[in-house]
Every structure is written in C-alpha cells, then in structure tokens.
Symmetry: C2
Subunit: 346 residues, 2 copies
C-alpha cells in the first residue's frame, strides 16, 4: 500500500489516524473475501497485493470526518465506525474487480509490480475472480443497516460498466471528441469515486447539502485522476508506473492528449499521426518507434500540457466545492488529495 | 423463450397465468437494462434473445404461489405483485451474466441459436456486458423494500463464482471425485436456483419452514439440472441443444459420467480413456474421433445411466420436499418442473 501523497506535517495526527484506519479497511477487505475453498483463497491472497493508493477508501473516511454534523467537537474515533470501514472496503473491492477485468481486456502482464491473474493463470480465473469481487462487495454492502450504500454502489457499478462499453465502442475511432471522452471518464472512473465520498458523508449522518458537495468534489477529482492516468499511460514506462503502460495506444484507445492533438495539429502533422493510428488495428504498430513519434507530435501541439490543464481545472473546481463544509483537518486533507492527483507521477 | 416442458392440461389456467407473468418479467428485465448510450443499448438488445427456459423466474413465481399463507383462497393475481416480478427479473439477470461470462470462458460461438457476444465483438465487451448485467441485477434488488433479496442474491452470486473457480482449479484433474463434483455443481448452479425459490416464498410472506422447504427442493432441482446439462454436453450436438456442446471435454472439465467411468472401468479401459484425456491440454484432442471413443467407453461402464440415476434421485428428493406445502396447482406444477429437468433433451 502506497499513500497517494506526502501528508503535510501539521496534519500528522489525522494522517496517522487515517493510515491506521486504512489498515483496518484492508483487513476487512481480506476477511470478507476469505473462502474455505483453497483455490479461491489462494487467488484472493494474490490480489491483496494489488491494493494501491486506496483513493476510494480514503475518500469514504475523510468525507465522513469532514461532513459529520459534529465534526468540530468530536474526535475522529467517535465519528468513524464499522459502517465506514465496510463502505470503504466495498468501494475498494468494486475498484479491484474492475482492475482484474481491465487486466483481462488490456492483456496486461504486470499490476503493481506483481504478475496479473490473467498472466499467471489465464483469462478464465481472472474473469470469475472479478465477478467474485463484485459479488462480495455487493454482499457486504447489502448487509449494512441503511439500504442507501447498496443502491449507490450498484448504480455506480452499472455506470462504470456503461462507461467501459462506451469506450470499447469508440476503440479506433480517430474522430472521438472531448465531450465523449469526458462522458467516458465520468462514467468509468468518476461515478464510483463520487459515490465513495457521498457514502462516507451519508454514513456519518451529514446534511444532504454536504453529501452533494462531497459527491461533486469527488466526481471532479475522479475525472482529474483519470486524465492524469491517461497522460501517464502515454508518457509512462513500466518502471515508473508499476503497471503495464502505453496500452491505450496499442488498444486503439484515444485519450485527451491525442484528441486535442488531432483537433489542433497542422493538417500534415495530423495526417502523419493518423497514419500511425490506422496501422494499429492491423497489428503493424511498433510500440517503441511509433509511440515515440506520436508522443513527439502530441508534445508539439502542446496537447499533454492541455490535458494537464483540464485536469488542473477540475482539481481547482473540486477544491471550491469543499467550501460548503466547515474548515477542519479532514477538509484540508481532502484539498491536498485533490492536488496530489495531478501532481503524481505514478 | 421456450418453456421447459409441456404443461399438463388440468393446469392450463395456471400455465396461462405463468406464461403471461413471465412475459411481464421479461419486459421488466429489458426495461431495467435500457440505456441512453446506443452501444450499451445495442448489446442489451442482442442478449434479450438469450432468454431461454426461464427456470429461475418460473421458480420465483410458482414458489410465491405455492407458499403464500392464503394460497388456497386467493387468486394468483392477488398473490404475485411487482416485487415478485422484480426478484424474478433479478434472478434471470444474474443467470444471464454468468452465461455471457461462461461463453467467454468456453470460447463458445453459439448461444440459443444466436452468435455469442464474444464471438461477434470479442471478449472485451462480453466481459463488461456480464459485469453490467450483474450490476443491474444488484441495483434492481437493492431498490426493493425488503433487504433480504439483495443479501441472498449477492450471497448466491459469490457462491456461484466460488463454484466456477473450484471447477477451473480442477480442470484436467483426472482424479476428480464425485463429492468434489457435487460441491462444484451445488455452488455454481444450485445455490442461485435455491435462492430463486426461497425468495419467491419470502416475498409472498411465507412461513420460514415453507421457505426452507422450497429452497431445499430447488437446490436439488438445480443439481439435477446441472447433471442433465453435463450429460447433454457429453452426448449432444450443436443442432439439438442450440448452443455449443462437447465443450466440457475439450476444456478438460470432468463431469459425472466420466468421473464414474474412470472409477469403475477395467484398468485397461480406464487407461485408454485417460490417454485421450491427457492429450487435451496439449491440443492433440480430435473433437470428432476422440469424443466418440470416450462416449463409447463411458456408455460401456453404464456411466451415463449412472449420472441419470443420480439426477433422478435428486428429483425424487426434491419432490418429497414439496410435501411440506399444502396441495395446490402451483405445487403440482413445481413437481412437474422437477421431472422435466431430467426428461429434457435440450
């Protein structure tokens, strides 16, 4: 588990509390997946190591702290209980399920410096293990007192799948536009991130306005996160990011830098990029040479910087949403998390 | 949609009512999957044709009718309401999700005489469409008044995945024994069938004893159904069954006839079968010649008949469970359904 960012020194007590609670969430996650069937248990132990930045669980916990009606006079220990732990574990489980299925789709071999399930054991167990993670997530949240988390999680999961299907539909569509890209990243990434923050506030008994503000904040953070992910995939190498990168191009997935580039390049430059992109479905794409040429072209139109600016705008808007909440260490940490999303290099 | 069996003439009014309600369930299913995203809507329209025997929805509805405390003096229309429709649609959706993912695992090209999604569009949309079906099922049952259906459906889905993982683990295990086979079919098939019947009774406000009797009945029916499916796969051809068959052998999946055969054949005969089975992982298996040789060997030890007898015993036990319920047309139909499961040739 790697924290998303270095926590400012004045927030050290909250940071220590959060780190400790994320460990509790992690154990809850593992316990819920435990199986008396040895092959199932072995697969679940393997994916425990996939747990990474814990963005969604962190949002559940911090939103609960920031939005609780008595946030000012109660210690964090009195605000966060078992239900927060459960909801946080559920959000991470749904996310993990999508990672396991994404690795099948992407034919990825490496995830968080470990071999992917599909690489180790083939696609079949990877597909079913993803289903098992989804089912376990639903089972955990269906057992909570309030019916709201189960509804919200299922709704966000359906949105997530719809976003992935939309993205697959536009594979090798070289005229994909920014509004469609925006729709895809909102559905496939930002809705679940938004639900994590909203449910954290909901379980804390926050006012509807606070829940809505946190959902808006987190949706924008989720979008910025996905834009940054897409930039890193384009720029990245397997050593820095710790998972297979450069996959978007190979898979014919147009992301924001390329969309901007194609819309703004000189006709001849755009044509040269399109020629490379059109070679991908036929299998003529050369990962080293061709991705370097594309990257140079994309940089020449300032398109990576453009994508970065779209991510930064969302982070600024996200932080503005937080003004609906009273000042608190948790609110400060949420603002710092938003910044960290676009500052990260992994 | 094909009914599982011809309904006896004296049950005609109930049969007509059931057929009409299954149409309502089918529309509920389609409405719930509807999407404003054209590529998602197109995929969902394609799988509408997969709806087949509607075993699980039928069990939800008939169990509701058979177990309702006032079954004797209320007309069926007064017993079954929207919640039965919803639960029936949910059970079919979860089942359909597993079919779509099974087709990916089996590399099947045909399902209910239509092309599979993976064959038409590749594995990626098939994996995500299955996830979308699961999420939509959970979303629908999470919106019901009672929290019980969401819990039971999620629990059964997790069991189903665990069963599939157990089966994958034992692929090409030529010493798989009958208790492990039983465990696999209970988890991967019978648990969801049991939950369908149990929830039908639960939603009708049935006594816990009636719910439990129907769950036991349906679990046995589900096991018999899977044994019959496995027999049909071994015997079948694509023309009769309407989906790709003979896949179990090719995929190294040992089913009851083969398990019995290997345990009861003369040493030399068992060795000959094992030699063919061992050729499968290396890709040397010849579907026509080798599957015929296996089928002959399996018939020679009476192993297909043995598997049939194991299915018939379960059907008899299932029907015995129904005696916990008062006599009614719905109970008679449930008994007839149990018989139909082992009599079917498709």
């Amino acid at each position: 588990m790697h924290a998303l960012f270095d926590i400012p020194a004045d927030l050290a007590p909250l940071a220590a509390f959060l780190a400790e609670r994320l460990q509790v969430v992690s154990r809850r996650f593992d316990d819920e997946l435990a199986s008396d069937l040895p092959p199932v248990a072995a697969l679940c132990r393997h994916i425990e190591r996939y747990k990474g930045k814990m963005l969604r669980p962190s949002l559940v916990l911090l939103s609960g702290l920031a939005a609780h009606p008595r946030a000012a006079d109660l210690p964090p220990q009195a605000i966060l209980g078992d239900e927060h732990t459960d909801v946080a574990a559920v959000c991470e489980m749904v996310h993990m399920a999508t990672l396991v299925h994404d690795d099948v789709l992407d034919e990825a071999e490496v995830r968080r410096r470990g071999a992917t399930i599909n690489h180790l054991q083939g696609n079949e167990p990877a597909v079913i293990l993803g289903d098992y993670l989804f089912a376990s997530a639903y089972h955990l949240c269906a057992r909570l007192q309030s019916p709201e988390p189960a509804r919200a999680i299922a709704r966000a999961s359906a949105a997530l799948c719809a976003g992935e299907l939309l993205q697959l539909h536009h594979r090798n569509n070289h005229s994909l536009d920014e509004p469609t890209y925006d729709r895809i990243i909102t559905l496939k990434t930002a809705e679940l991130v938004a639900v994590a923050a909203e449910l954290g506030a909901h379980v804390a008994g926050a006012a509807p306005a606070s829940q809505a503000a946190l959902a808006r904040y987190a949706r924008l953070v989720g979008e910025a996160f996905q834009i940054q992910d897409d930039i890193l995939d384009l720029l990245g190498s397997v050593d820095v990011v710790g998972k297979s990168t450069g996959k978007d191009l190979e898979k014919g997935k147009l992301t924001l830098p390329l969309i901007h580039h194609l819309a703004h390049a000189e006709p001849l430059a755009a044509l040269r990029t399109l020629e490379i992109l059109r070679s991908i479905p036929g299998g003529d794409f050369r990962p080293g040479t061709d991705s370097t040429r594309i990257l140079e072209a994309v940089e020449a139109t300032g398109s990576v910087e453009y994508a970065r600016s779209r991510a930064r705008t969302r982070v600024a808007d996200a932080k503005a949403c937080l003004s609906a909440l009273p000042a608190s260490p948790a609110r400060t940490l949420l603002a710092a998390m938003a910044d960290a999303v676009v500052d990260r290099a992994y």
